[in-house]
């Protein structure tokens, strides 16, 4: 396709020639990079699976399946993460659209606020929810009087997780929407589409890979979230422990094989996410480049 011929990669052979340093320099740098990667990433990841499976496959499965608290933690994580992701998809789409398409007072403030959860420590975020929904907070008292338990219950886990993962979808979509530009949306309107028809038939199909990419990143963070969830959960085994919390608890109880078993499931989920991410990354790059290919062809 035209887009691919336009986006030919750099001439690696030439670059290599230009960068032909002494072999000692090259080997040292390569060795340092590989050593760091091994020490910090490969060894720990392999170790997780080794430790989990060391007592035997039977014990590994028993650790995961027969412990009701562990089962509940897995269940809870698989419930909380998707709901948090769904909330952030809706919010992220709306925020990204407003930021990319309109110029209004407070636009910069909104953009900055979206990044806030990245810069604030998750523990602080958790604490904010404790103060808001706890026994001292006005909102907490009102909710308790009306029979709603938020803190130390799944709703708080959801809020904390959603807060920490706010930036992912919006951050991913703002540049995609900006690259695509408003013209196709306007074309849809001028052809008689309603706002909803424009969104479902034109806007969303154009940004779908960006949305999926955002969802994957958001989901990875949501399942792994520890700090904020730790503060608001209350650590009630079988009720408010998510997988990361369960890992920590088992580890504190010196049940190392079980802790590693749960950790291995989290790691596996992370690895799957990583593979999906690479696949989707290729697709998003493809759509964005075929777009820029089009406009370049037209310019």
């Amino acid at each position: 396709m035209q887009a691919e011929t336009l986006l030919e990669g750099p001439d690696y052979a030439r670059i290599r020639k230009a960068h032909a340093d002494h072999w000692l320099v090259r080997w040292t740098l390569t060795f340092l990079a590989l050593a760091t990667l091994s020490l910090l990433v490969i060894v720990p990841v392999v170790n997780v699976f080794y430790q989990a499976l060391a007592p035997g496959v039977a014990t590994y499965l028993r650790n995961l399946v027969l412990d009701p608290d562990t089962r509940h933690a897995i269940f809870l994580t698989l419930m909380v993460a998707p709901v948090a992701v769904a909330l952030n998809v809706v919010f992220g789409l709306a925020a990204a659209w407003v930021i990319a398409r309109f110029r209004f007072p407070g636009r910069l403030a909104l953009t900055t606020l979206i990044d806030l959860p990245f810069s604030v420590s998750p523990v602080v975020a958790g604490l904010v929810f404790v103060l808001l929904f706890g026994g001292q907070g006005t909102l907490g008292i009102w909710l308790r009087d009306h029979g709603y338990q938020v803190l130390f219950a799944p709703p708080a886990l959801l809020l904390a997780t959603a807060f920490v993962t706010v930036p992912f979808v919006a951050r991913e979509l703002i540049p995609v929407l900006e690259a695509i530009g408003p013209e196709e949306d306007l074309a849809a309107l001028s052809l008689g589409a309603t706002g909803w028809q424009m969104f479902w038939r034109v806007t969303l199909p154009n940004i779908q890979w960006g949305v999926i990419y955002g969802v994957i990143l958001c989901n990875a963070r949501a399942m792994g979230e520890f700090g904020a969830v730790y503060v608001v959960s209350g650590h009630i085994a079988g009720q408010t422990d998510t997988m990361p919390l369960r890992v920590e608890k088992l580890f504190q109880e010196y049940n190392t094989p079980a802790a590693f078993a749960v950790a291995s499931v989290l790691t596996l989920l992370a690895l799957v996410t990583l593979v999906l991410k690479v696949v989707v990354e290729k697709r998003t790059r493809h759509t964005v480049s075929s777009h820029s290919g089009t406009s370049r062809g037209a310019a």
Partner: protein
């Protein structure tokens, strides 16, 4: 459907994009909005389409006030400068879009889209995606898409701007023929005066958010309303001189200009197009200026001669026929005489004396 624009004003922040613009577009006509970039022509087009709203003034479609109506309710076809084709839909679905959102039945959609693809000579390309088409093909898809729901008005934003010269020539003539067949009221924006003059029934010349002149191509070419229009229509020689007693004085030359007989003596700008000057090897009475040939540029159907006036070293361009050129045996460096055949005089405030 006729369009009336009355006293439309539009600002972007401090920038005044449209300054009290009034314009009538008769039913079935093909109008060009012509002007340099930033003159407000695209803003005006978008206001007519409902993609932009004016700060003041009204837009009437036939007799309806549509000033505050959305693009969706106006039923206009809009062809975007870079086409804005839906990249995730194939050609067929792009053209079908306006019909789908109106809830047409599948077989009716197929019939209408096939009809349109034949009209824009893209039969058989329905399955292609926009990225697989050439610029000219994309342009025609955009046109078919805009025409699908039988709009009352067709608006085109620099429709040929992104195409190479040869394709542009072809499409221009084709658009003109298409308009003659369909008779849908059409307005297009361009910065290319040749394009405007070739395609449009009437041309609206704009500058700095204002309409400078409206007229047929012939009217505008023959009677430019002011120096801006004269300048914008291309190559022109400007002499600074005076008018006095029905004559224009350009340096040592005096040219009869009876139209100015009633005016008081005043400084004036004298505009002469290159083809309205002649070159002679002998002085013709008092009507010619001495000049030296700087450069000779044979351009096929005519020869452009660049000269420098002997009096004040100002540069003058003269177009002569190849025949005349051969007759005179001109060479670079020759000292010759330049005589204006026809002049236009604008006295200082900028209005033509006529």
């Amino acid at each position: 459907m006729s369009i009336s624009i009355k006293n439309v004003t539009k600002r972007f922040g401090r920038f005044l994009a449209l300054d009290n613009v009034t314009l009538e577009v008769p039913e079935g006509s093909l109008i060009a909005l012509l002007g340099p970039s930033g003159c407000g022509k695209t803003t005006l087009l978008r206001i007519i389409a409902g993609l932009e709203y004016p700060d003041g003034g009204t837009v009437l479609s036939h007799a309806d006030d549509v000033t505050n109506r959305s693009a969706r309710d106006r039923n206009v076809g809009f062809v975007f400068q870079h086409y804005a084709l839906f990249r995730h839909l194939n050609v067929f679905e792009n053209v079908a879009f306006a019909l789908r959102v109106r809830g047409w039945k599948d077989d009716e959609v197929t019939k209408r889209v096939d009809e349109l693809l034949a009209l824009v000579r893209l039969d058989g390309l329905g399955e292609r995606f926009p990225a697989q088409l050439s610029g000219g093909q994309r342009q025609r898809v955009a046109l078919a898409r805009a025409l699908a729901a039988q709009p009352r008005v067709l608006l085109l934003d620099e429709p040929f701007g992104a195409l190479d010269a040869k394709v542009r020539q072809e499409l221009r003539r084709w658009l003109r023929r298409l308009h003659d067949d369909l008779h849908v009221t059409s307005i297009f924006v361009t910065h290319d005066q040749e394009e405007a003059f070739e395609v449009a029934d009437r041309v609206v010349v704009m500058n700095h958010g204002r309409v400078e002149q409206i007229g047929t191509p012939q009217e505008i070419f023959d009677h430019p309303a002011n120096p801006f229009v004269m300048d914008f229509l291309g190559n022109v020689n400007v002499f600074h001189g005076r008018i006095h007693d029905g004559k224009a004085f350009l340096g040592e030359a005096e040219v009869s200009y009876p139209e100015s007989a009633d005016l008081p003596s005043s400084p004036a700008q004298v505009y002469v197009r290159p083809h309205e000057l002649d070159i002679a090897t002998e002085a013709e009475g008092t009507a010619s200026l001495q000049a030296r040939i700087v450069h000779i540029n044979p351009l096929g159907s005519y020869v452009r001669v660049q000269l420098q006036l002997a009096s004040n070293e100002a540069e003058v361009n003269v177009d002569i026929t190849p025949h005349r050129y051969a007759e005179l045996e001109l060479k670079k460096g020759d000292l010759v005489f330049v005589a204006p055949r026809r002049i236009r005089v604008f006295v200082e405030p900028g209005t033509q004396v006529s």
